[in-house]
Amino acid sequence: MTSPNPPAKRSFASRFDGEKILLALAAPVLAVLLSVAICSLLLAVSGKDPFDAFDVMIRYGTASDGQVLTLNRATVYYIAGCAAAFGFRMNLFNIGVEGQYRLGVLFAAYVGSQVDLPSFIQIPLLLVTAMLVGGLWASVAGVLKVYRGVSEVISTIMLNAIATAVVGLLLLPGRFAPAKSANANVIQTAPVSESSHFFSIETAGGTLWGFIFVAILIGVLFQFTLTRTRFGFDLRATGRSETAAKASGVNVKRMVLTSMAVSGAIAGLIGIPELLQSSFYFGQSIQLNLGFIGISVALLGRNSPIGIAFSALLFAFLDVSGTQLPLQGDYPQEIVVVMQGTIVICVVVAYELVRRYGLKRQQQKVGAELAAQAAAAANKEVAA
């Protein structure tokens, strides 16, 4: 019997299936457009000119100082997105990125303020501290899931709140904060040592954080792990079908423990760029909600390291350019959060619809192609 299949060659076209790409891009683009439309409506209803507002944002986003700030912010969001996405790739909902991030940066700030080693030891030490703390905190949820069957969604929500309390407990004068501080009203750790400062690049638009290279490295490692390593294959297999993964020999329990810990370790790094490049201490001014923004960024970027890069840039651009709105035209900055929220809601719906449509479409296509092949074979037989 001869095979009806084409020869074993992957053409350029099969790698870059136009329709597949179109489908993949359609969802986020539509979501962003829909969200812009909704926000325009909201602005218009409140008596503001939406085009002018977007103009303010775009002008700032295209100016060099805006771009540098956007990149700095995107660095943070990218790490947060990767932290959430790592769990999502195997259907683990690490809602606890928030808590892991706060504890990670708190411990790093404390260690950085107590230890003063040469930079090439000091900085890795702080990174490892943050990752270790974040990873351990996340592992509590992993252990509870594997050994007690507790849903990681609930346990990480609880752990977020407990992390807040732990931060409150540790960040007291005499503990992680210096016993005597200059300002009695502000409780914060002592600044990290000079040697902890991460390198940065001076540009025309301001200081670009060198940590962006660490973020890129995380992304590259993430992508590499996912697509090029056995571990990554097991991770994706578990995410797609836990039963099939188990039958294939994946040790699902160990995978849950590992990915929870890795997700938490990445989460531990979220606060590091701010700590080592800008504020140099941990205090009550720490940005809240980064964990949840990370989850949103991951959802928008469809949990792929490349997608997350785009969504982190988009979210960072919205946040950074949003700060200009009240300054240049009296628009409330909060419109940006509305836009981010609508993008997330629209995009998750769009992805789901596209996923279902894509599956059906491919089934039809395969059926049609096989029928065509069969018909061609029959013709040949007749001819011969």
């Binding site: 809602i95 346990s155 309390a165 732990v166 949103s296 409330p332 959060v337 809601i345």
Partner: protein, 421 residues
Amino acid sequence: MSTATTARPKTPGAPTKKPKITWPVVLLLIAGALVLVSAVGAATDNHGLTASGQITAALGAAVPIAMAGLGGLWSERAGVVNIGLEGMMVAGTFCGAWGGFLVSPWFGLLAGMAGGALGGLLHALVTVTFGVDHIVSGVGINLLIPGICAYVNRIYYRDYVADGAGANQSPPADALPSITVPGLSDWLKDIENHHWFLVSDVAGIVGGVVTNLSVVILIAAALIVASYFLLWRTVFGLRLRSCGENPTAAETLGVNVYKYKYFAVIASGAFAGLAGAYLSLVAAHFYKDGQTQGRGFIGLAAMIFGNWMPGGLAIGAGLFGFTDSLQLRDADNVHVLLLVIALAMGLLAMWHGYRRKYTAAVISLVVGGGLGLWFALTDSVERPLIVATPYVITLVVLALASQRLRPPKADGQIYRKGEGK
């Protein structure tokens, strides 16, 4: 011939069953706890735990937790996990304050519920109609709704600065009435001040209930009872719960699963909205950004603690409300509470020992001893520890008693009509 079945001995109420927690047991436990608290109060001469003011504060703190939890209960009983409760609560705080400022606080309560219900509608649309993962939708809602509320607040109250509006704060609304039973309240207060063993403690608790009681607390209590009857005693409730247990079975019996899921999630939003409106109309008299402070999540915790049942939820909310209110009150009270828990753990250890569960007994004894030492060696308990208590309790309950917990079987699963096996 069928008498020879070996695999199926039919003894009604098989002896292997786990003992279930029944209401008499619960009441007995509460009575025991009361005696214990009284004894400790008498011994340490600190009666703060059962002071009427403490009880009033605890009840007040319990309301938003209970209502958020009730919202979670409705939604999860129909099989939809709702971690968007927090966002729906924010909608409630905003709409409540808005209605309260513009019309009246009573209208505010309704407006808050309506606002929350809109959030619920969105969650239902995304999860039920479009089949998106429930957690994902909830995260999105928690991001979106606070953003909208903050935005609208800024735009809308711009011209009301004279009325007390701030950049992130709405102008104040009028207060809702609260109830003090005349005579009884004073009489109980009198007894309470005598510090008689047990009698004064009971008087303090009853006094707390009859003094300065917001009407919303009564409404909330009524809603919990009503929810129980609606969900467990009516056709509507049976059908709604069947959607959370086995939607495919419900579908084959002619139940419109989508309809009940929609209804449950919208109701869930309305309860969360009421919880929010309570915060912005009773606990405070205005809306403020970030007012909910994660109470939606504590509500979820209370629901889990209460095993997805209204009665259990009420106890959970009461417990968590009590700890929530402790942080605002005298730190000594919390310190005394340590001793109470230490003694309770000691009693638990004796019970375990009596039932010959020696490992459990030893663990209880060690925990109790640790707490006792903590009490002896310190003078106060730090605030963050009190804040974290509800979450720690929930985690411990989940970790130790998860086989006793009974979430709805199809909870969190995506249901598509006609695709069941």
